[in-house]
């Protein structure tokens, strides 16, 4: 895939802002929501502070809501699926019946089944890795994205939590990282109001609306991130933006445990004593516990006492090589089956692999098991293109 290693990839950003979507947001909507956030912050922040921010998407599955809505609407729409999507994406005014179905489906979803540790693995690994690289992490969570954000926070250790923040928007949960703020929920958000009404007696009911926009939103539900909460010039958009800036200032800068870079490979595992990371660089150099320094990158954290992480980094585009970086594992020492998690970042790409290792005969120091390849090529734009394959 054409992944240009442009200036931003080679830059070392200090803070990462993630957008975490709700279950009514398809991936394209999450992309646009992140861009709207970027645009607002670019407008209001001093340039030198904005330049230190990197923006990513922590994408949450829609859990079948759009499909259920489509299937329950299609007869009324006489089979016109394009019309369905125009309603769903706010291109046409949503009729009452459509809004009612959407709200009912939102309420009917079992929140306990929405968020599982498995569905959060890559998000949490990324938060942990970035914090280990010495970066602050802020999640802007919308709707059910708050449930995912709160659960991810529970999976961080106490040191990591000091550098992780969340700004809640249309919060369907009853807290924000265990506290009461910061959050923004609109008075006319029909989804939030319906959820509160449905869970009125439950302690888990959503936090009460606390914001009112002067101008009516284009979004009939009053719930969509872009059309309602980040509507241009709205009170809620200003409030959310300020909450992001304020929260960023409260986060602790974590100590840097591993290097960040244009390629990073992070290995973690369970309770067994030792799993080893091996990287074969394009120049032929093998980088592992016995040879920590390569020509292109280095293993800057080697763990021989359990849990990991082990971490390999190509620190900058200056030492990046064309060709293939082979990533391999050796289950060096242990008494039983083990599961390793390997997270690779190359350019704009992020891939996470879970590797089940039945015993410590999985790989060896001389012949580790190949897990993934990172291909680096020249791009047409003068930078680099990356591909990660298994």
């Amino acid at each position: 895939m054409a992944e240009t290693c442009s200036a931003s990839i080679c830059d070392n950003k200090e803070t990462l802002i993630f957008f975490g979507n709700g279950i009514k947001t398809t991936e394209g909507g999450a992309f646009d929501s992140r861009n709207i956030l970027k645009q607002y912050l670019k407008k209001v922040m001093p340039e030198e502070e904005y330049e230190l921010l990197d923006f990513k998407i922590a994408y949450n599955d829609t859990h079948g809501l759009p499909l259920d809505l489509l299937e329950s609407s299609i007869q009324i729409l006489s089979g016109n699926t394009s019309r369905f999507w125009r309603f769903f994406w706010g291109l046409e005014i949503m009729p009452d019946w459509f809004a009612d179905k959407l709200i009912l489906l939102s309420i009917a979803l079992d929140r306990s089944s929405l968020v599982t540790t498995d569905s959060l693995k890559e998000h949490v690994n990324t938060y942990k890795t970035k914090i280990a690289e010495g970066k602050k992490v802020l999640l802007v969570a919308h709707s059910q994205g708050n449930l995912f954000g709160n659960q991810a926070y529970n999976l961080l250790n106490s040191r990591e939590r000091q550098s992780f923040g969340m700004v809640a928007v249309a919060n369907v949960d009853h807290n924000v990282l265990g506290t009461g703020s910061p959050y923004t929920s609109l008075q006319n958000d029909k989804v939030i109001l319906a959820l509160i009404a449905a869970q009125i007696a439950l302690p888990s009911k959503p936090m009460a609306p606390n914001t009112e926009n002067l101008a009516p939103a284009e979004d009939f539900l009053g719930h969509y991130f872009i059309q309602s909460y980040m509507a241009d010039g709205s009170i809620s958009a200003d409030k959310i933006t300020q909450q992001i800036i304020t929260t960023l200032n409260t986060l602790a800068t974590p100590p840097q445990i591993v290097e960040s870079g244009v390629i990073t490979v992070s290995l973690t595992w369970g309770s067994e004593p030792d799993v080893d990371l091996h990287v074969y660089e394009p120049n032929g150099m093998k980088v592992f516990w016995y040879n920590l320094q390569g020509y292109s990158g280095a293993i800057d954290r080697d763990d021989r006492s359990g849990y990991g992480p082990e971490h390999y980094t190509v620190p900058s585009c200056d030492t990046l090589e064309l060709g293939v970086y082979h990533v391999a594992l050796d289950y060096f020492k242990g008494d039983g089956p083990e599961v390793a998690t390997l997270q690779i970042e190359a350019g704009l790409l992020v891939r996470t692999y879970e590797i089940a290792m039945p015993s410590d005969i999985y790989g060896s120091a001389d012949y580790p098991e190949l897990i993934a390849n990172i291909l680096v090529k020249n791009s047409e734009n003068g930078g680099y293109d990356f591909e990660i394959s298994q």
């Binding site: 240009t4 991936e27 646009d32 992140r34 949450n60 489509l70 999507w85 992020v350 298994q390």
Partner: protein
Amino acid sequence: MKTKKKILLAAALLLLACTNGWGGEKAKLGPCVRQCVQAYNPSLADSGADEFMAADFRAKECVQLCKEKLYQGECNSSADGCCHPEYLSADPDCQVEPPPEPPGTNNLPPDPGEAGKETLAGIDSDDDGIRDDIQRYIALNYPESGKTRAALRQFTLALNKAILESPDEESALYNTEFIHRASECLWYIFSEHSIQIKNILKAEYLNTMERSRAYLDYNHKLGGHVFSGNDFDEYKTSCTFDPDLMED
């Protein structure tokens, strides 16, 4: 004088009875005159035209009226060299000369209609990688903007890959990068207005249940993953063409 009035009245009635249509301009003069004259004198039998196509009648106003195309012609719904406006889809004469395409739409494939909805991939008769209906949508809705058409074509090609070539999570993740680069390119050209332009196109694209389900299936494979992106000032490099070289 009385006769002339009757002829004019008959012609006017015929004119009212006919529907305007591009096929009407190709009406033959003979049938036109015949019907005009017959309307003037219904008692005349249509026995082969000799009687009422006699010089006496040909010289009357019917000929002139028909020449001036005030009368749209008498057409059959079968092949008679004249398009019957009420049988546009069945009359072979209506099929021979389609209406001219709007400016800038030369070489567009024909509208595939319902046949284009029968499969997930649809019909791509010119093999340009984009379904004919979407190719036409882009060309007909943005005839004045080459860079918009180019950006939407890039986006459609990416959407094709995502929907048609994402059988597993790995391929879905791979194809999402194409979608993101295409979305960045659109954002470079239109900023936040690209959201609406992109979504309207996607709604057009997802015009069947099969396509909608395939899109949601692809979308489902992305759940739990993290995505990065370029900085705003690098979005131009996400275009597979140079938008700045296009004036519009």
